[in-house]
Amino acid sequence: MNRRRVLKILGKILMTEAMLMVPSLIVSLIYGDGDAMYFVGTIAFAAIAGFILSCVKAPERKMGSRDGYCIVALAWIIICIIGAVPLFLTGQFRSYWSALFEIVSGFTTTGASVLSNPEYLPHGVLFWRSFTHWVGGMGVLVFVLMIMPMENENSMHLIRAEVPGPVAGKLVPRMKKTSIILYGIYTAMTAILIVLLLFGGMNVFDAFATAFGTAGTGGFATSSVGIAGYDSAYIEIVLGIFMLLFGVNFNAYYLILIKRFTDALKIEEIQWYFGIVGVSVIAIAINICHSLSAVSVSLRQAFFQVSSIITTTGFATVDFDKWPEFSRHLLVLLMIIGACSGSTGGGIKVSRVIVMVKSFFNEIRHIINPSSVTAVRTNGKPMDKETLIAVRVYVASYFILICLFTLVISLNGLDFTTNLTAVLSCFNNIGPGLNLVGPMSNFSCYADWAQVILSVAMLTGRLEIFPMFMLFSKSVHRR
C-alpha cells in the first residue's frame, strides 16, 4: 500500500467532510441553539488537516485494488471520527464513544441511536446527524469522486469497495460522470420527497431530516416519538413508498432516465424485491389483524414496517417488538435479506439471495443427477464463476461474522434476542432490533466498549466485510 497516496486521498476526504458540515453550520446559525461554534471548530480543523494532507506528493503509479479497499475503509473510519466531534461537544452523550456510535450509525445509514430524547440536541447537530444518512447512503467516496479532481487515480477500485452488491458497474464510461448521474438521481428523488412531506404537514426541519433518513435508508428520527408522532396515513404511505424506491438498484433509475423502461422492469432483482415485499406485507397483515380494528390499519402498519425493515431504514410507526412471534421472525428474516444491490440499503442484498437460492436448487439437481451441468442465470445471462464464488464466500463470511459479533457482545450481559438482533440491526444498517433494542428503545443499554464493537459491525456491514478486514491484512502494510 502506498502511504503517501492514501494520505493524499484522505486529505481530500477531510476537505470534503468540512464542506459537508457547512449546511449543518447554516442550520445551527438559523436556529441559534449555540452549536455553531462546534461546527466552526470542526470544519476549520478538518479543512486545515485535509489541506495539509492533500499537499502530499503522491507517485504516479496506478492504484491497485488493495489500495482502493484500504482507502475506502480508512476514509469511512476517519470521516466518522471527525464527524462525531460536534455531537460529543454538545455534552448530550455520555462519552466520545457514544457520540462515535451515533455518527457511525449515521454514516452507515443504520439509524440506531443511543439517545432516548434526540429532541434535546441542538438543531444544527440534529441536522448533521440526519445529513450523514444522506451522504452515507450513496457513498462518501462517490461524493468525493464527484467533486474532487482525481487525476491518475483509478477510481473504479474505490467504487467497487464502496457500492454495495456483488457487481459494481458504471453507467457511463467516465467514473466522474457516473457519480454525478447517481447523485443527480438521488438528489432529485430526495427533493421530491421533501416536497411531498411538506404537503403532508411536516415542518420544514423535520421534512428535511426525515427525507435524508429515508433517502439514505438510515432512519434517525428527530424526536423520541418519530414518525408515529404524526399519526398520518399520508406521511406513512409516502415514506413507505419512498423507502422502497430508495432500496431499488439505482441502475434501474438510470435506465428509466434514458427511456429504457422495459429494461428497467426486466431486472430480475427488482422483481424479486417487490415480490418479497408483497408477500411479507400480506403475511404480516394477516398475522396482526386480529388485534387491530380494521384490515386497512393492519395493512398500513405491515406495509410501513416491512418497507422500513427490508430497505434497512429502521423507521417505526408501531412497536413491532410487541407483534406476534411469526411477524417478529419474518422481520428478522427481512433484516437479513436487505435491499437491492446498488441501492442505499444494507443487508445481504436481494441479488445475492437470488444467487444463493438458485445455487441451492442447482445443487439439488446436481445431487439427483451428478452428471448434470448447471449454470446460475440472472437477467437471462449466466453468471461468471468468480462472481459466484465471491457471492458464496460473502454469504458464508456474513453469517460467521454475525455469530462472532453476537458472541463478543454477549460479554455485556444482555439476553440473546437483544444481542442477536442488535448485531443484525447494526451489521445490516437497519436501526432497531427486538427486545431491549426494539423500535421504542435505544442502544444506551450497551456499555461504551460494546458500542464501539457495534460501530465496527456497522462499518463492516456497510462496506460489505472485506474492506474493513483488509486493514488487518499483513500484505497491506508492506510498502
Binding site: 485494488s65 483509478n154 477510481s155 473504479m156 477500485h157 457511463v172 464510461p173 467516465r174 460522470k177
Partner: protein, 460 residues
C-alpha cells in the same frame, strides 16, 4: 471553448484495443470497450476509466447496449478481419459516425478503398503494414533511432542519440545554428529520462537523445558536419515471415534492397517465397542461421530486423546481432513490454504495432475534436509513450497571430514551432519568421493535448 466529449467504442480488448482505450481515455474521450473474453474485460475495467461490455462486437443487442449508435468513432480491432468489418457495418447502420476497422489480411487490405466507399468505413488500419512502413523509413535513414515524415515528406523528424565523437557535444544550440551553419532545429532533448524543450543557450551533452526537424537534405548535411558516417542499407536480414515481415520484405525488395528472410516454419516460409519474388527465404531458426553465417556475410549484412511474434526472442536475437556489430538492428516489440528496460542501453531500435496504430487513431480523434472552426490537425506523431508530441496544423482561417513575428508571439513554455511549410517549401522557423494563411505548421510539445494552434502563443 467547451470541450466536446468524443464518444469512442472499441471492439476487441487485446493489445491494440486496450492501448487505444488507454490513450483515448487519457485524451479525454469517453471510451466503451466490447470483448467476448471476460478476463480481458475485467483487466481493462480495473485498469482504466472506461466502461466494458462482454459479448460479440457484431451483435446488435450488445452494440445497442454499449451505445454504439452514439459513438463518434467506432473502432473494431479484434483478431478477425471479418468480424471487424461486420462490426463496423453493423455499427455504421446503427448510427456510429466514423467507423475504423483493423484489416490485416493482405487480400482484404488492398480493398480498403472499396470498403470506405461502399461500406461507409472511415478508415481501415493495418498495424502490420504501418509498422513495416516505419521500419522501412528507419532503414532509409539508419543514423536515426526513429524517423517520421511530415508535410508530404518535405519535413523530416529524426530521433538520434549523441554518441562519443559527435562534433556538437559541448556546444550551445545557438552555436550549432550560427557557427556550424546547420539549417536544422533541435526541438527536444531527452537527458536522464527527462524530456525538455531547449532554448538557444542549452548545451548538447554526450548521451542526449535529440529530436531534430529539417528538410531531408539539411539533416543529411548536418550529419556529415557532426562527423557521423552515412551508410546506405543495401542488404537486410529479416527474422520471421510474419505479416510485418511480408510487407517489409515487399517494400524493401521494391527499393532494390537485398532481402533475406529466415523463418522456422516451413509453410510460412514457402508462403512468403511464393508471394514475394526476389527475396531469398531460408527455413531455419533465425539465431541458428545467424550463427552459421560467415564473418564476411555478417559484415555484408547492413541491417538485422527481428519480426517474430515473440518479443523476447526478437530482443535476444537483436542483441546477439548488435554484439556481432551489425550496423543497424530493429526489433518488433510491444510498447509496454518490460523488455523496454533491457533495450534501453543498446542501440537497438524497436517498433511497436500497437503504438503505430494508436497514433493514427488518436490523431484522427483529435482532429475530430478540433474540427469545428479551428485549424485542422492534419497529423500527429507521439514519442516517448506520448510524453512528446508533434502536431501538424493546417492554418486555414484568419487568426490574430497571422503575420506577426514569432518572437513577438511569445511561444509558451513547453512548446516549439518545429517547422513551417509554405508553398511546398520548408522554413526552419526562427524568431524573425511569421506564420501565414495556408501554412502547414508543425508544433513540438511536451504538454499533452493541444487542440488549437493559437493556444501555444502567450502574446496574442
Amino acid at each position: 471553448m467547451k470541450k466536446k466529449n468524443v464518444k469512442i467504442c472499441v471492439v476487441g480488448g487485446g493489445k491494440i484495443g486496450s492501448e487505444i482505450a488507454a490513450q483515448l481515455t487519457d485524451n479525454g474521450c469517453e471510451v466503451t470497450v466490447i470483448d467476448t473474453n471476460l478476463d480481458l474485460i475485467n483487466k481493462i475495467s480495473n485498469a482504466m476509466d472506461v466502461i466494458c461490455y462482454q459479448g460479440n462486437g457484431a451483435s446488435l443487442t450488445i452494440l445497442q447496449d454499449a451505445g454504439a449508435a452514439e459513438a463518434d468513432i467506432f473502432i473494431a480491432v479484434t483478431g478477425s478481419d471479418e468480424l471487424n468489418i461486420l462490426s463496423c457495418l453493423t455499427a455504421h447502420s446503427l448510427g456510429a459516425k466514423n467507423t475504423i476497422a483493423r484489416v490485416r489480411n493482405a487480400e482484404y487490405a488492398v480493398q480498403s478503398e472499396f470498403y470506405m466507399e461502399k461500406f461507409g468505413l472511415a478508415m481501415t488500419i493495418n498495424p502490420d503494414f504501418t509498422a513495416a512502413r516505419e521500419i522501412e523509413r528507419l532503414l532509409h535513414f539508419p543514423q536515426a533511432t526513429k524517423i517520421e515524415l511530415f508535410g508530404k515528406g518535405r519535413c523530416e523528424l529524426a530521433e538520434m542519440k549523441i554518441e562519443h565523437g559527435n562534433a556538437i557535444i559541448g556546444k550551445t544550440l545557438f552555436e550549432i545554428n550560427q557557427k556550424m551553419k546547420m539549417n536544422i532545429l533541435i526541438c527536444a532533448i531527452v537527458r536522464d529520462k527527462n524530456i525538455f524543450i531547449p532554448n538557444g543557450d542549452d548545451i548538447v551533452k554526450e548521451g542526449d537523445v535529440l529530436y531534430i526537424t529539417g528538410s531531408p537534405k539539411a539533416i543529411n548535411e548536418s550529419l556529415e558536419k557532426m562527423n557521423i558516417k552515412v551508410r546506405r542499407i543495401s542488404s537486410v536480414l529479416i527474422a520471421g515471415a510474419s505479416r510485418i515481415g511480408f510487407y517489409l520484405s515487399k517494400m524493401l525488395e521494391k527499393d532494390g534492397v537485398n532481402v533475406t528472410v529466415v523463418e522456422k516454419v516451413h509453410s510460412k516460409a514457402a508462403e512468403l517465397a511464393g508471394n514475394v519474388p526476389g527475396v531469398s527465404v531460408m527455413c531455419s531458426d533465425a539465431m541458428e542461421y545467424f550463427e552459421s553465417m560467415s564473418e564476411a556475410d555478417i559484415k555484408n549484412t547492413d541491417a538485422f530486423v527481428t519480426l517474430t511474434n515473440n518479443d523476447e526472442y526478437n530482443l535476444i536475437a537483436g542483441m546477439l546481432a548488435e554484439k556481432r556489430n551489425v550496423y543497424k538492428v530493429v526489433t518488433k516489440m510491444n510498447s509496454h513490454s518490460a523488455l523496454k528496460e533491457l533495450q534501453m542501453n543498446t542501440k537497438i531500435c524497436s517498433v511497436s504495432k500497437e503504438s503505430a496504430v494508436t497514433d493514427i487513431i488518436i490523431g484522427y480523434s483529435r482532429s475530430l475534436l478540433a474540427a469545428e472552426n479551428f485549424d485542422a490537425i492534419s497529423s500527429l506523431y507521439r514519442l516517448m509513450d506520448g510524453k512528446l508530441e508533434f502536431v501538424e496544423f493546417k492554418v486555414t482561417s484568419d487568426e490574430a497571430y497571422l503575420g506577426k513575428l514569432i518572437k513577438e508571439l511569445q511561444v509558451k513554455k513547453g512548446y516549439i514551432i518545429a517547422s513551417i511549410i509554405r508553398n511546398r517549401r520548408l522554413i526552419v522557423p526562427r524568431g524573425d519568421d511569421v506564420i501565414e494563411k495556408g501554412d502547414s505548421v508543425l508544433v513540438c510539445t511536451v504538454n499533452k493535448s493541444i487542440l488549437r494552434l493559437q493556444d501555444i502563443f502567450a502574446g496574442v
